[in-house]
Subunit: 333 residues, 2 copies
């Protein structure tokens, strides 16, 4: 559990693309984002108040979050200077970078000296159990995709936000480093030992109120040969009551796998529901979330109408048109 | 890679059930099993020559293999005495126990002093890559089960043995600790980090001669909610050309999961082939392997005939009736 709120560290990010984590926090947990701090030459601006470390502390920040992903996940000397100073001043630090904070001697020493915590959210900190499959109380929704990176996290976060606005009981359950940094907790599923993957998902989504929904962040795809095992653990460990199908219609091949074409939404529906029924015979596919960012508004509207008619399920782009209709569908089961 | 041949350490195993690993080595790689060594009160006897450590060395043994699984995977003081002496004499030691050799200070010290190697086969020693899905040369066969522990390893080993006898090119590819100890190499798949599972299977089954078969040891089951992610990685990373369905007809529920009934062979066939086609569109289900140990001979013959007629595929118990017909089926595709 990472202490909130955060000061968002943008480093020397060349542009906004590099600041994906910080943008996620600003957009989805604005209360967690007290301000931003960049280095000389930083090309990213979240529109938050630019603060010194001292100003961040005064504003109440508890943790300095590395909000950027640089090439190679490298922690430079210029970064380290700021990070060590932050630890001295009393910040914890949280990072999803490939290179770990805990492998940097200066940071470890400063954290020890000042009694602060280094959070490497890529690394599991819990000894997860083997999954039992025992039915849990409360309800769970899982986003599954035709491919990786088609908007599964976005969909779950957008639906969770609508549910909060409507006064429904829901929790976004993060399974990747960006999601964990956004919410301050979760399971870095792709770094869990194989035998404990499904158990980690059970751990993440425990018994809850009968009318509470866990909105589980999906990972990978049942059709992506590199990561399908991780997705399978979510389908079985998550014990979902509802599945949302996620798709990006302009993708020419599976991400990182030239020569592998994407499955149809029908194939995803049939495969996902068959597998999900093993852990929950009552599971239903309730809606479709399409990432239409590469389509014009007209193209998007017409594509969504075609999918909705063909599949007999609400089909929306939650970014363009809101997640309300997906939540309606969830609420109806 | 563990140096062969082995002297098999039976410790104080109360009975033969506890000596599963040693039995596997004796049955499947008899050339690797130079002899056996037990402690006072050992109730297991493999029928191999009982040897002292010194006699084992004279007979050519290179590695002392822990051939027993005791409750909790504990390495006792009495065991340690023998193991330290073995290292002093020049043996490597290999173990699949839950408690690791490398965590025992005395063993580590003795191995260092005498330049010997401790093999904990539960622990991956390779930084496996992310799977690429790129088509590999050679052919691959994967055993998939309706449940865990239904005879998948046995089936692959039995088929591999028949193939060797027939002069076919084949390699048994171990994915669990017993298989790794039997053959001296493999991937401990259930201990691999989630993101690298499918890549580990690709690594295990590289390019090969066009007429060479990798006989891949299966793990878990697509229908076992605790371990299905591991199975999925085998289905996609293994890129199988042929699938063998494995089943144990008297099992009342999924292993370790009361309340979860086993899928039908039809459900396994349909789910496995659908998923396997993602990595290899030409994959075929070629046969069925039934573990009939809890049936009488008459019951077994009649059950196999019924399954064969119903499924339209050769159905055999390789232990009772040999794996020849399964190899015929493999050879025909």
């Amino acid at each position: 559990m990472i202490e909130t709120p955060y000061l968002l560290f943008l480093g020397d990010a060349p542009d906004m693309l590099a600041a994906k984590v910080a943008i996620g926090i600003r957009d989805w947990r604005p209360d967690n984002a007290i301000g931003q701090i960049g280095l000389e030459g930083c090309g990213a601006d979240l529109g938050l108040t630019e603060m010194t470390l001292e100003q961040g502390l005064e504003a109440g920040a508890k943790t300095l979050v590395i909000g950027v992903a640089n090439r190679g996940g490298y922690i430079s000397a210029a970064w380290k200077e700021v990070l060590v100073r932050a630890l001295e001043l009393g910040y914890d630090i949280a990072s999803g970078l490939h290179n770990l904070l805990r492998d940097e001697g200066e940071l470890v020493a400063a954290a020890q000296m000042h009694g602060r915590t280094l959070h490497d959210v890529r690394v599991p900190t819990v000894a997860y159990p083997i999954a039992t499959g025992v039915k849990r109380s409360g309800k769970r929704c899982l986003a599954v995709g035709t491919d990786c990176s088609v908007g599964k996290m976005y969909t779950a976060l957008a639906m969770d936000t609508v549910m909060q606005e409507r006064g429904m009981k829901s929790s976004f359950r993060a399974t990747g480093q960006t999601g964990i940094l956004i919410t301050g907790q979760g399971v870095p599923l792709d770094a869990v030992i194989a035998d404990f993957m499904a158990g980690a998902v059970e751990y993440l989504t425990p018994d809850n109120d009968p009318d509470h929904w866990d909105m589980i962040e999906g990972q990978g795809s049942l059709f992506h040969v590199s990561y399908s095992g991780v997705t399978m653990a979510l389908v079985h460990g998550g014990q979902p009551d509802a599945l949302i199908l996620c798709h990006e219609p302009t993708r020419e091949h599976m991400r990182g796998l030239p020569g592998f074409s994407l499955p149809s939404l029908e194939a995803l529906r049939d495969t996902a529901i068959t597998l999900a029924k093993v852990s929950n015979p009552d599971v239903k596919v309730v809606g479709i979330s399409v990432n239409t960012q590469h389509l014009s508004e007209d193209e998007a509207v017409s594509y969504l109408a075609e999918v909705e008619a063909r599949m007999g399920l609400p089909a929306v782009d939650p970014y363009r048109h809101g997640a309300g209709r997906l939540v309606d569908a969830l609420d109806a089961i």
